[in-house]
């Protein structure tokens, strides 16, 4: 069976051949479009078995959730590759292909081993993408790699606990080692406390890398969470806290890319809440939100990317160029803004109201409203800079056609979903009994948006402001300092004196003799 993930990895191998630009375009287009088509025709219920050592692996297993996620991944992959094909170098394109391929394989994997292997492959390829991208990203890439490997090792440990407790690697229900799975997922989806990599990477890395990473990294975490640890109610509050934290942090940023990355944390909060409810409606709401979020967040990243590409900086001031010089970009940005703010008849609205409808606890409902309010407030700031503030910037470079093409694709899709919200349901047979255009829902969807406009107009000078003191505290760096200091002390003991070394050896001998002579199982 042909799987989209392996198609992408084959593409990466094909790109290893010595080829010229034209063939590069053809190969990339064929692979990405092919993967989309293959994903589209996957039939839920199919699976493939493989014997590997003593394990039975299921490298591909399709059901409706994974098909939905796979479709949006493949679609966004097509757009992202088209967007970045002119800008990025050939080695980076290979890495992007491996990254997308492994993300797709994670989505379709049917057992924990395959999941882990490709989860780790995602980490490796994305880290090298960051490290190789430019000279400013070396330390960031180092940080990102370590953090994600720590997360995936936690996943591995969870898998081991699960495997030794149940003896099977199937993806169904997690019985042992839930905390470790949660840590792994938390790192991937940038939960508060594990989020430190995210603003760092998305602001330092070149914009096309940020686009590709923002599509897959956190979303794979959400998908795996839906798969493995759905329905833990307490996590809904955690998601809420994470999102509120994201709002506060995002409002205090001076860089557009950092704002966008904190806003990912907010949006992921929605999905966490949806998944933690555990009902079918909640989970499908979360998955739909995943789809919508990929669409508008990618468009926003792409738009900012165009701005960065044309002006060379990513301050808020530079966004003003959009209105005057970049028509396509500004339309796409507007659509994406309305989507992310949850305005009815745009795509964010459908999934937000789905999640809200599935909630039963008043506190969470209230929190959800607060999150929507915060999000739209956040992006009003964005829009203010882009469209209402005068700017005198000039285009340094024209954006390439392929960039606009990739952005356009996603915008069209967004508008389609917004107008006809049942499109996603029909596509994957995930039916939710929900009328999107009921007055009650439209009103409750509009409320936070209108409030936020009001608040924005009233308190504009507090919101639109350059902050000098940025909150930044990183406990992982403290831990790293501890590790380095320990190593330094230890290496100081190795001062080259042979006498000392011999003394160590003799002491070891005596200890060994004591341990063995007095039969000391119990000591250790």
């Amino acid at each position: 069976m042909l799987t989209p993930g392996f198609l992408y990895i084959t593409g990466a191998l094909l790109l290893l051949l010595p080829i010229n630009n034209k063939i590069k375009y053809i190969i990339s287009f064929l692979i990405t479009a092919g993967a989309l088509i293959v994903t589209f025709y996957l039939i839920p219920g199919n699976s493939l078995q493989l014997d590997f050592l003593k394990l039975t692996l299921i490298p591909i297993k399709v059901d409706s959730i994974s098909k939905l996620t796979g479709l949006i991944f493949a679609f966004a992959g097509l757009a992202a590759v088209i967007y970045s094909i002119n800008i990025c170098s050939l080695p980076n394109l290979r890495l992007i292909f491996v990254f997308i391929g492994s993300a797709l394989t994670v989505v379709f994997s049917g057992d924990l081993f395959t999941l882990y292997v490709f989860w780790e492959l995602m980490t490796i390829s994305s880290s090298f993408l960051i490290i190789m991208a430019s000279d400013f990203t070396k330390k960031t890439g180092y940080y990102y790699f370590l953090m994600h490997v720590a997360g995936s090792l936690s996943l591995l440990w969870g898998i081991f606990l699960q495997y030794s407790a149940t003896g099977s690697l199937s993806l169904n229900a997690i019985e042992a080692g839930t905390p470790f799975f949660l840590i792994a997922i938390a790192v991937k989806l940038a939960f508060v406390g594990f989020h430190t990599w995210m603003p760092l990477v998305y602001s330092k890395a070149p914009f096309y890398v940020a686009v590709v990473l923002s599509i897959y990294t956190t979303k794979v975490g959400v998908y795996v969470m839906a798969r493995l640890v759905s329905g833990i109610n307490i996590l809904a509050y955690a998601g809420l806290i994470s999102a509120l934290f994201g709002i506060v942090m995002a409002l205090r940023q001076n860089q557009v890319l950092k704002l966008l990355s904190y806003s990912i944390i907010i949006q992921v909060g929605y999905m966490i809440i949806g998944i933690s409810i555990g009902t079918a409606a909640g989970i499908s709401g979360a998955m739909f939100h995943l789809v919508n979020h990929i669409l508008y967040k990618t468009v926003l990243f792409m738009a900012v990317g165009v701005v960065i590409y044309t002006t060379g900086k990513d301050d808020f001031e530079n966004l003003g160029i959009m209105r005057s010089k970049l028509p396509v970009t500004s339309i796409a940005t507007l659509v994406a803004f309305l989507g992310i703010a949850g305005v009815p008849f745009f795509n964010g609205y459908m999934s937000k109201s789905l999640i809200k409808d599935a909630l039963h606890e008043p506190l969470l409902k209230w929190g959800l409203d607060l999150m929507s309010f915060g999000t739209s407030l956040l992006f009003l700031k964005f829009i203010y800079y882009a469209f209402f503030k005068n700017s005198t910037m000039n285009l340094a470079k024209k954006p390439t056609i392929s960039m606009q093409l990739g952005m356009g694709f996603l915008t069209v899709m967004m508008i389609l979903i917004g107008i006809h919200p049942y499109l996603l349901e029909n596509l994957t047979n995930m039916h939710v009994d929900f009328n999107y255009f009921e007055m009650k829902h439209i009103l409750s969807g509009m409320q936070p948006f209108l409030w936020s406009i009001l608040i924005f107009i009233l308190f504009k000078k507090y919101v639109v402001k350059k902050y000098d003191r940025l909150l930044y505290y990183d406990m992982y760096r403290k831990m790293a300092t501890l590790f380095v200091a320990t190593g330094y002390q230890l290496s100081n003991y190795h001062d080259g004196k042979l006498n000392k070394y011999l003394l160590w050896a003799t002491t070891t001998l005596i200890i060994l003799l004591f341990l063995l002579m007095f039969n000391s199982h119990l000591l250790l």
Partner: protein, 488 residues
């Protein structure tokens, strides 16, 4: 089964002939070295393919009265490592060695002879003799550069390894005193009615002696010193074979002579697993501090050996398979890493991490090999190191060493910190103009060969594992080994 003895004899003969050729006929040097390496490879493959069922070769046709050689899957694993590493080593060294070539190759062949002797012999004293051959010639190889640091490191190595040898000899003599025989099959039979305390003390001597040569912390201090200024191709063999051959001897002695039951009863398994955990944690901490590439790789070797020890000493079938697999993988991965460092050293005399800045763009393929091998040694999928670590952790969990399994993962994280440091430096652009002597194909080819094995064994691990699946049969139950040795 004449090939078994020829595996030991042919490198010896090559070394002796090289000694003559050095003085009289210098022209035959090149054909002699390469020709005999190829013949040797053929012999090794012959022995490895015939290794199952296990075979016994009696030297001098004396049966149990004399010395026997035995080929079983565990020893053929080591022959496999020799087969994989030796020809790349020879090809690499031909170009790399700028100093006196003859001596270098004489010692290399002597060392290989000593190691294959250690691996094949089934006699305790013979093991000691071949251990001396291999460690003395290994010292000689690490001395080759004759620099201050090289000599100092060799002296430390010599002192420590001789101290270890004395303890091994003491234990060997005591074993003879107690049992009246040196044959590895008869000793366990005679050992049965020896009191517990005597046995455990003798075992402590064996463990101490070999642990000195393996380099478990805190017996490790000589090891980075010996690596720092020695010829780099030698480091490939040293970390891949010399350390491992001591490990082999330890496993042979503990599992065959003392038996798994005694190991369990005396708490040896618990001790070694705990020791291994301590070792790799400290070694990772120390490796992070190093600025010299050779030292960094040496500390990493210590840590990897600790993983192997944990795998081999959890005392289950899965653990033995996992440990053996990691022995093979570590030899390949560390070989590839050292060869890459060797190329950098050859081209621009780089030894410090700072010196290799920006080389990732100048040597794309070689640097990629480095990346692959280092990710493999860290234990990330889809490379071979991941497979063996997975198996080790699984085995440790199965045998209820949960803390060991957990700390292996912690260690994986710690090892990433310093390997990534090197990789990032490798891919950092620099403005400096580098003086580059272009490495030829004979340097690149062995490196790429080992690097590609990392990927192949990661994707198709069943290839080597089909050999290793038979190992536990001969180690876990020493009855099988004894029966074959006595019956042959």
């Amino acid at each position: 089964m004449e090939a078994a003895v020829l595996v030991i004899i042919s490198p010896l003969l090559t070394a002796f002939f090289l000694g003559i050729s050095r003085l009289y006929v210098k022209k035959i040097f090149f054909p002699l070295v390469t020709g005999s390496a190829i013949i040797y490879l053929y012999l090794l493959i012959l022995v490895i393919t015939n290794s199952y069922p296990a075979k016994v070769y009696s030297i001098g046709d004396w049966g149990m009265l004399g010395i026997n050689l035995m080929v079983d899957p565990f020893s053929s694993l080591f022959l496999l490592i020799i087969a994989i590493l030796f020809l790349p080593f020879i090809i690499f060294s031909m170009k790399y060695t700028k100093f006196i070539k003859h001596d270098y190759f004489i010692f290399a062949y002597l060392m290989i002879a000593g190691i294959s002797g250690m691996v094949l012999t089934a006699d305790l004293f013979n093991l000691y003799v071949f251990l001396e051959v291999s460690s003395l010639s290994s010292c000689a190889l690490s001395l080759q550069k004759k620099t201050d640091r090289g000599i100092e490191g060799t002296f430390k190595y010599l002192i420590m390894s001789t101290l270890g040898s004395f303890f091994i000899l003491l234990a060997t003599i005591l074993t003879y005193y107690l049992t009246g025989t040196l044959n590895m099959a008869e000793i366990p039979l005679a050992f049965e009615d020896i009191p517990f305390k005597i046995k455990s003390t003798i075992m402590a001597f064996f463990v101490f002696g070999y642990a000195l040569k393996i380099g478990l912390i805190p017996l490790h201090a000589w090891l980075p010193d010996a690596y720092e200024d020695s010829p780099i191709p030698y480091n490939v063999l040293s970390s891949g074979l010399v350390m491992k051959s001591a490990l082999y001897a330890l496993i042979r002695i503990l599992y065959i002579m003392f038996g798994i039951d005694f190991l369990d009863e005396s708490g040896m398994l618990t001790i070694v697993v705990f020791w291994g955990v301590i070792t790799f944690l400290i070694a990772h901490c120390l490796a992070f501090q190093q600025s010299n590439l050779n030292r960094l790789l040496a500390y990493s070797s210590i840590a990897q050996i600790a993983y192997i020890m944990i795998g081999l000493f959890v005392g289950t079938e899965a653990g033995l398979i996992a440990g053996s697999f990691h022995i093979l993988n570590h030899a390949i991965m560390k070989g590839a890493l050292f060869l890459v460092v060797g190329i950098f050293n050859y081209s621009l005399t780089a030894v410090e991490i700072e010196d290799i800045k920006g080389l990732g763009y100048k040597f794309p393929i070689i640097s990629f090999t480095f990346v692959v091998a280092s990710l493999a040694i860290v234990g990330l999928p889809p490379f071979n190191g991941f497979m063996s670590k997975w198996l080790i952790v699984e085995a440790a969990l199965e045998a209820d060493f949960v803390y060991a399994a957990f700390f292996i993962l912690v260690g994986t994280f710690l090892s990433l910190t310093y390997y990534l440091k090197v990789i990032v430096t490798l891919y950092t652009k620099t403005e400096e103009e580098l003086l580059i002597e272009e490495p030829g194909l004979s340097l690149k080819l062995p490196t790429i060969f080992l690097g590609s094995l990392c990927i192949v064994f990661g994707i198709v691990p069943s290839l080597p594992l089909s050999l290793m699946n038979k190992i536990p049969k001969f180690l876990l139950d020493n009855g099988e080994y004894i029966r074959i040795l006595l019956g042959g």
